[in-house]
Amino acid sequence: MKTNRDEGGASQGAATAEKNISLTVNGKRHQLMVGKDINPDHTLAYTLRETLGYTGTKIACDHGSCGACTVLMDGEAVLSCTMLTMECNGKNITTIEGLENRETGKLHPLQQAFIDYTAFQCGFCTPGILLSAKALLDKNPSPTEEEIKQELAGHYCRCGSHYLVIKAILSLAGKGR
């Protein structure tokens, strides 16, 4: 998982005050006017939820330490509560709402596996875990149990669904998505 600190400085891709921010979320392009749609201190998590209505992105700690707000940015799992929207100009974001197949409406195999294994209890951490799992499988289609645990280490699950989450992901390992 990456945070904004890995992104090579805040200036890269940042918008100037008079510029609009362009954000592609789940394939849909959004133009956001700084000062009107967004403020410079808005986090990506806030913008996704409050401005654009992608409320499947969950905020729990809001300090980058629980993984709930994880989304994919250009395919990488990132903590959206640690990134300023201003830094995300031109980025391609996938939220949980964008995980199912947009044309067919069919669930992503990971989503189906989570259903089949009841790999959640309260479900609040589930969107973030699913997106990290997708980033992992995209890079490594056959992860070991250890690799899955490493990838999900930053995700706080309090209900104890870890074991069934791992089983669900392992059920897909090597199935070549």
Partner: protein, 756 residues
Amino acid sequence: MISMGEEYRHIGKSTPRKDARAIVTGSARYIDDVKLPGMLYGKVLRSPYPHARIKNIDTAKAEAYPGVKAVLTYKNVPGWMGGVPYHRPVLDSTVRFVGDAVALVAAETGESAEEALELIEVEYEQLPAVYDMEEAARPGAPQLHERIPNNIFPRGFRAIGEKALQEIVMGDVDKGFKEADFVTEGTCSYENIPNPLPPEPPGVIATWEDPEHLTIYTASQSAAMNRNFGQPLLGLIDIRVIGTQCGGSYGTKNANMIPMVHAAALAKAVGMPVKVYFSKEEHFNAYSLRLGSRIHARVGIKKDGTVTALAGEWFVDTGAASEMAQVQVAVGCGEAQLALRCSNWNLQPQLVCTNRSPSGVVRGFGGQELKSSLLPLMAIAMEEAGLDPLEFFKKNYVKPGDGYYWRDGLWWDYRGIDFSRAMQKGAEVFGWKDKWKGWGKPTAVKGNKRIGVGVGVHGNADIGEDESEAYVKLNPDGRVVLHACVSESGMGERSAVCKMVAEVLNLPLDRVEITAPDTMVNPFEFGLVGSRGTYTVGSAVIEAAEDAKRKLFDLAAPVLGAKPEDLETKDGKIYVRGKEEGAIPWRKAMGISRTLTGQGRFETDFSLCNCMMIFAEVEVDIETGKAELLRVVAATDCGQIIDPLVLEGQLHGSLGSAGIDTALFEETVLDRDTGHIMNCNMIDYKWRTFIDLPQFQNVILETPIPSHRFKAIGVGEVAPAPGPSAVLMAISNAIGKRIMDYPATPDKILKALDRI
């Protein structure tokens, strides 16, 4: 998992949760996903001091701030009183813990509300504070509440009965000690005051329809409880409660009274809906910690493991207020008797307030606190008598023919099953016989590493507590709506009760829907607490489905020319038993312009209990003092599994939610000079990550239990409770030294080993 249950169409099978698709697609709506038209945002100014009088408070600048619609202080809030007994106003002129509410602001945006908080000028007069419960109970200690003399709460709580259990007194302890072969004595402290910390912070939206009608949207484990407890608090006005998806609760979001009264007070002041949603920092500083527990006790024991006497003092620290800690004390006392058969008791609880964030309802509900501090004292006695703890627990856990005083203060004869078979099966899977080497003896030694094992047990008769009602409405198209006020905070209970209805009516699962947890459209429900859902809500739902089926057959009998008792239904069709070819659809019996509603009700029954045994294997590094949990086996008998995967998950949940890990690293670190919580963020507050998972096996037996049609009982709530004492025992055995103070962090372990 070991299973022996009956074959049913749905019961006992893993089926997708009804809300599964919503959860994995992000469309499940939690409290912060709900926005009402015109809704304002409420924020709370919190005290920086553990104990202070507000000498002066000036809100003029905050009131004038753009976007601000209301500012409330103790001077202008409604006079609602909360707590047991009433001692907690909405806001007060005295603050009693760091994080206590000082003022409330409602504004058009959360940002404006927060900025306005900073403009409120408060002059405090600091007062002396007290953090230790025994110090707080001594004469001359700083006093927290006028209504709570000497900081000791009055016993009892009328809502659970005039004779509410507030101590364990029976037999003659002096005689019992004389009969003992060994008498041991000790003190054990379970005072980590951990935070159950559901991922979703607490939140409530309040909106007044008119002065007599308040609507509450809440992320709750038990939506109806917010009405049941809220009504007396708010002066018996009508409260409609609508539960949203709840992002974890573990007891803490049953009746969200504090955010509810804050939101309701602000909404009343502004005449608009107001949302109060805690930040994670507020969640750490001002929401439902576990009770602190400390026991000084003497135990009399015979060589054969008979406990002849148990006497002592149980100090319970509830922090600055009691939500219903008296009930937790009562249930804890009841549960102690389930696990420890003993004829002579004198256990005296003292419920005390101190200047820290209040305790609240937490999974384990008094019982985990009592067990975690009592079982290590029992271990001293077992060691003295040379007893294997597994055999001791098997012998002393409640059995048919035994009884106990439950929370209502009444004696209940136990009519359930003998759980020692589940304990034995768990021991076999764990390998107890080979791993147990005796008290203070490690299972294995590898260099600096010492392996040790331990075991704990717990159970609860609250599985049959309080009342539940249900309606089952049959539609002529063969579809069914279950009206039951069941919330979803992770236990899958909404799906479980739909399965029960589908089973009784022999329908595919997708033909049964359940209403939203909304008190206006549903009959009475107490809530999902104490593992009660399976037995209590289940009983009401089954009775309602059977009632509806009877009504359906009464209508169908003349159409089919048969007696109602000879009819069967399957997949929305009715037929005479054995003559399925002549089946008619429900609508032929009902007509298309009719619904049939069956009713069901469950009444309190404390004559059954559940049981959970946890075996733990730890590895301690005697150089660093670090203890690591290697393996857990959780053993239980639930009568009949409703859904195997849901149950597996609930038992795995014994690690977190202020459970097993409170023996190892989980604690709220309170600075006892300033009253500040030092680890109020998710980095400094320690939690188990995916990398740190121990091996975990569940052993679940299905011996039919006389509860209802499906012979099932719930077990989710108790899952963590035996864990902390099991881990402490394992650590003590690994290092050959007793640890009597949780959590067993490296410093305590090294101190026990005389290495620091």
